[in-house]
Symmetry: none
Subunit: 403 residues, 2 copies
């Protein structure tokens, strides 16, 4: 918060553009102790040239040791401390599957569960039914109508789905209906303050109808809702940094988070790096800041596909000249967190960070972009929330503090 005030006080207009290129889950680990990481093993002549001309470092996404989800990790890169600016689980689940959640909407994360003849939960995750099996069930729920509200129901994955209600007078302070144990009935939606009574009534009515539709299912014969939340009303990116800002992403979660902070989300065809960079080129004159998101580094990491992750990095590298040719004042290349193929999951490890700002940065003698070089890079190890002020500075968009 204090830092946003600093940005607002010091920011100035400048012609230079800022590009933040995020390869999701970029940080990796060697398969064997002496070996290279995914990024170190990838052939990346273009990134290496930027590394040679630029400054390296590494970022801590949330706090040391804390493994971030995608939402908080991106908020941090945008300058929002994720511990101070929490986005509800319902909202993250909903925007992750492409539902827009506006101020006053109420989003919840849904779980299918299995109940016995007495209505007591026997499996909180409905036997983790496969996504294909859950799809037609979610489809049924999407037909439920309640007067006075629009309802959007979307499948997430396996036993998980998202519900968003939109209408007048809704509030999101509602307790979870998942009792977090088996052998008891799902709870009803209970308002945590009087203003949420109407929302709770609506969600209870919706759950009653849903349970009727599910009653004959062998596994997913009931459900619970939790993480009731709305657009948290984050300070808006443009108001903080004074940047006309655009998001170029192929996946819903990243578009969703960008919308929450007030970025424009650009439409484009395709999901390859060159498609995303072409989208940036087409809108180059209309924005000061571009956030570009590459998803597949993370997907390959989660699949444990070391070579596949390196290949995605190489495909980004191959497409990179198109981006550099646009002559951004500042180009930062990093990840939102680490997803080492060896561990097949998001991790807490610091994330390699490359800052390229040909007019202003101190080249730090590293000739290639990689984790080990970044650990001893000129920027040091910094919180991800420090990235935006650095990019602003290198784009000549911050004036001096004090006389």
């Amino acid at each position: 918060m204090a830092d946003f005030r600093l940005m607002q006080e010091l920011r100035q207009k400048a012609p230079g553009k800022i590009v933040l290129l995020v390869m999701d889950g970029l940080g990796g680990l060697p398969i064997e102790s002496g070996g290279p990481t995914e990024l170190e093993s990838a052939r990346t002549p273009n990134l290496d040239r930027l590394a040679a001309e630029g400054t390296l470092g590494q970022t801590i996404p949330i706090r040391p040791g804390i493994t971030p989800g995608s939402g908080p990790a991106h908020l941090a890169l945008f300058g929002y401390d994720p511990l101070a600016y929490e986005v509800g689980r319902g909202v993250l689940e909903a925007i992750g599957v492409g539902t827009e959640v506006k101020k006053g909407d109420v989003a919840a994360r849904g779980n299918f569960c299995t109940v016995n003849a007495f209505g007591k939960i026997t499996d909180r995750r409905a036997g983790r039914i496969p996504t294909e099996e859950a799809a037609p069930i979610v489809e049924k729920l999407a037909h439920i109508r309640l007067s006075g509200v629009q309802i959007d129901v979307r499948q997430v994955k396996e036993y998980r789905f998202a519900v968003v209600m939109r209408g007048k007078g809704l509030e999101a302070d509602i307790a979870d209906t998942d009792p977090q144990q088996t052998g008891v009935e799902p709870l009803s939606a209970r308002p945590l303050q009087p203003g949420s009574q109407r929302s709770a009534d609506l969600f209870n009515a919706w759950m009653a109808e849903a349970r009727m539709l599910l009653a004959d299912q062998p596994k997913a014969n009931s459900l619970t809702l939790r993480g009731f939340s709305t657009d948290p009303g984050l300070p808006q990116f443009t108001e903080i940094y004074g940047l006309r800002s655009a998001c170029v992403a192929a996946y819903p979660m990243y578009k969703g988070v960008s919308r929450l902070v007030g970025m424009d989300v650009l439409r484009f065809e395709g999901d390859k790096p060159e498609d995303e960079f072409a989208a940036v080129a087409r809108s180059w004159d209309d924005y000061d800041f571009f956030f570009i998101h590459i998803k597949k580094t993370d997907s390959m990491g989660e699949d444990g596909d070391f070579a596949g992750k390196a290949a995605v990095i190489e495909s980004v590298d191959a497409a990179l000249p198109a981006l550099v040719d646009l002559k951004p004042a500042v180009l930062a290349v990093t990840g939102d967190h680490s997803t080492p193929a060896r561990l097949r999951t998001h991790t807490w490890h610091p994330v390699p960070f490359l800052l390229w700002a040909p007019s202003t940065c101190l080249p730090d003698d590293h000739l290639a972009f990689g984790e080990r070089a970044c650990t001893i890079g000129g920027l040091g190890t910094i919180p991800a929330t420090d990235v935006m002020p650095l990019l602003m500075a290198h784009a000549s968009r911050l004036i001096k503090f004090g006389a």
Copy 2:
């Protein structure tokens, strides 16, 4: 505080054990500008192998430039910001000599002083009388009895001692009786709030009796008390991290601080590294976390004995295989602060830190454990309070934050 909540929200059970091996005052300085530090000069093949496989870094115990005492330095390593969680000087002095201070006890630090015939202080430290000379005097004071309280008096060193009172209705908000100047009388114990009146009366009665017993002493003919305090009721280690935790230390101060955070203190014979590691081995199955404290690195540093300090480090290295053979998931080797032999005292310098977690850590190209390697280690320079979250993460004991 916020970070404890984070630990409590994110922690999960996992089988891997965590070992935190603290060589007190580990950080050192070269004797001559180009030379090695104590740690760098020591022959440490086992630590060097861990360094090659692990990740290095350095910790800031309190804040940059701040030299820590032993109590705050250890609290920081345990994750407690010493500026937020203050332990009173009386409590630290008392636990430093092996007195247990429980909630509701009142501990004070005592100084012998010299007063003249008018009762005015002429020397606030009684000519820094030697420990041997003070011992029988402290012994006398230990016989004072007051009704309704148990009193424990222990020698510390030279003119210093500790007094702990235990009984009903005691409170510790009492002003220091040391006027911090000569030429005036010692102050009486004055309650800082009404609840402390009884404790103040008792300490005044005790001081009156003590001064009668001291009246004929040539130097230590009076005394002052300060740092009145009780067990601060710190958040308990097990409740924060969910770890069954054990302290293996030979010296009272470290056992005392471990007790304050709720660790079990293991009993064992001997004070050599191999004795301590054997104690860990014996209790391996009973705990998730072991804090092992090696005192003599600090003692040698305070003695200005560069070679002696290096030899202690070598003795730890020689015993280390017994610890590594237990197969901890995470082994961290560090100090609580620096005590360079060249400066013969605790200092504020960052402390070398070695993190070894064979499944999860990024080896950072350093082949030996030493201050210079640590300054450019892969973990960067981190506050000591970040150590525990890192160890928790590397032991797979933290789930993801946010979606």
